[in-house]
């Protein structure tokens, strides 16, 4: 069953984020994927997350596909204009990649090539509409395609971020839904209550939301996020819990496991796990579920 079918059947779906390598050494990424294959429905492949140069999501997603796995390929507005985006989407579909996650992308100034010129020819919303066009057999110039792709497309939402208006987030989701997005990935969620104000405002409730669970790596990281990353909130109890824990790494894994369980029991159709390079901890997390 494909990701789309599983979600339609109401099965709980676990997604795992797998960063493509910075280089051509793809074996570790594929090893992680193989080890998780049975427990994870699909792999989220970021497109140069945080504007750090890596192998493109298209290449990495294709490699996963070749191994019989189901990738969700990020498509990012930062680095490609409308020609490149549409061309890569056609290539992706021809390579068997059918799930997309449309993102705006972080500004290059935040990454490791901070002198790069950003593109942003299309916004995420416009890209969603362009994908709809391709599916109807037309490109953005209105020219007919020889064979149209068919994608299962998601987008991101800032639902659950402190300091964002729930009304605006809900409106944004509705707008992106009209543009063709079928699921919405949230920022890392440590307190599921934060999603409720948006859930209450959505016609389909939590059914289209895919919360992210981020694996913390240390107490320092948790503190750093709490102080410096405005769109992620970590409750003080979580930080205290890490402070007290004798084995911090184990506790971090435990916090992630509990996070996934809590979201599952609230009825979210899917959860995405992000490890920021600690993919080797993923088996431990999924085993414990």
């Amino acid at each position: 069953m494909s990701l789309k079918e599983k979600l339609a059947a109401g099965e709980f779906v676990l997604l795992a984020e797998l960063e493509p390598p910075k280089g051509v050494h793809v074996a570790p990424m594929l090893d992680h994927a193989r080890r998780l294959k049975e427990r994870v429905e699909a792999f989220l492949v970021p497109e140069m997350h945080q504007a750090v140069m890596r192998m493109s999501a298209l290449g990495a997603a294709f490699l996963l596909r070749q191994e019989g796995m189901e990738p969700v390929m990020q498509v990012c507005c930062r680095d490609r204009n409308r020609l490149a985006l549409q061309g890569d989407l056609l290539a992706a579909f021809a390579c068997g990649i059918e799930n997309l996650l449309v993102v705006s992308g972080e500004d290059p100034s935040l990454g490791d090539h901070h002198r790069a010129r950003a593109v942003y020819d299309l916004s995420a919303l416009e890209l969603l509409e362009a994908i709809g066009g391709l599916e109807r057999g037309r490109d953005l110039a209105g020219v007919d395609l020889e064979g149209a792709p068919r994608f299962f497309t998601g987008a991101t939402t800032q639902a659950g971020s402190p300091g964002r208006s729930a009304e605006l987030e809900a409106e944004d989701i509705a707008q992106r839904m009209r543009a063709g997005a079928r699921f919405f990935l949230t920022p890392p969620i440590f307190d599921p209550e934060l999603l409720e104000p948006v859930v209450r405002r959505l016609d389909q409730g939590r059914q289209a939301l895919v919360p992210t669970v981020l694996l913390l790596k240390s107490l320092g990281m948790a503190r750093y996020i709490e102080r410096n990353v405005p769109h992620i909130r970590i409750p003080p109890e979580t930080i205290e819990r890490l402070q007290r824990a004798p084995d911090k790494v184990r506790e971090c894994v435990q916090i992630a496991v509990e996070g996934i369980r809590a979201l599952r029991s609230r009825g979210y159709p899917a959860v995405a796990v992000a490890t920021l390079g600690w993919e080797d901890k993923l088996p431990e997390i999924v085993e414990a579920l």
């Binding site: 290059p108 100034s109 901070h114 002198r115 790069a116 010129r117």
Partner: protein, 222 residues
């Protein structure tokens, strides 16, 4: 100077629906020189608006005013006593002036009467051409004072692309190849060795890659 073009009146008109009093606000600097938003153009737009409003049977008071500069708070303050008499402002300054007017008068709707195009100069009466994109890290010393950022269609920094032919750009015979101009100029200066020197990959963070820009001069700050 900043070069702008007048917007068609049909684009402006719907914004003024329901307004009973409109101020057409010009600027005495760049947009006067490029004949898009000076006193003369303010008069022309105001008359055209009056005519259209009359045709629609609407009684609308159309005021005219041209400030010395709209990008300067000091001159904008001159409007303080009169602005309340208007429901809307159509500014004919460049995008900077339009925004500055709106920032100064937050509760007043301010609409653009021009399209702001580029930084350039007049080649002849009625013809303006782009010369600078404000990239924040000027390269002109290396390119014989011809800008490859603003004048090469691909912003190439190290010589022409394969589309350059007979001194013209691949865009068409009416566009000069910036690199042909650079080479001609370097030859005239006897500095062709500059052409051989590689310009490093450009730091676009000084351009817009780092987000909206600001210049801060601590020495002149008040």
């Amino acid at each position: 100077m900043i070069v702008a073009e007048r917007k068609p009146i049909e684009e402006i008109l719907p914004w003024l629906e329901g307004a009973r009093s409109v101020l057409v606000l010009g600027c005495n600097e760049c947009v006067t020189v490029c004949e898009a938003g000076g006193k003369k153009e303010v008069g022309m737009l105001a008359s055209a608006l009056r005519l259209l409003f009359a045709k629609e049977g609407r009684e609308v008071n159309v005021g005219e005013r041209t400030l010395e500069r709209q990008c300067d708070p000091e001159y904008l303050d001159e409007l303080r006593d009169t602005i309340d008499a208007y429901d809307a402002v159509v500014s004919l300054a460049c995008g900077v002036g339009i925004q500055f007017t709106a920032e100064r008068y937050p509760s007043k709707p301010v609409y653009p009467g021009v399209n702001t195009c580029f930084m350039g100069a007049a080649l002849e009466r009625g013809v303006w051409a782009e010369r600078c994109q404000g990239c924040g890290q000027c390269l002109l010393a290396l390119t014989g004072a011809v800008c490859p950022v603003a004048r090469c269609a691909k912003r190439l920094l190290n010589g022409p692309c394969g589309g350059s032919s007979a001194g013209k750009c691949e865009l068409g015979p009416e566009v000069d190849c910036a690199w042909q101009l650079i080479i001609d100029r370097l030859k005239a200066l006897g500095r062709m060795e500059d052409y051989e020197r590689l310009i490093p990959v450009k730091d676009w963070s000084k351009d817009r890659a780092g987000g909206p820009r600001k210049v801060v001069r601590e020495d002149v700050r008040s």
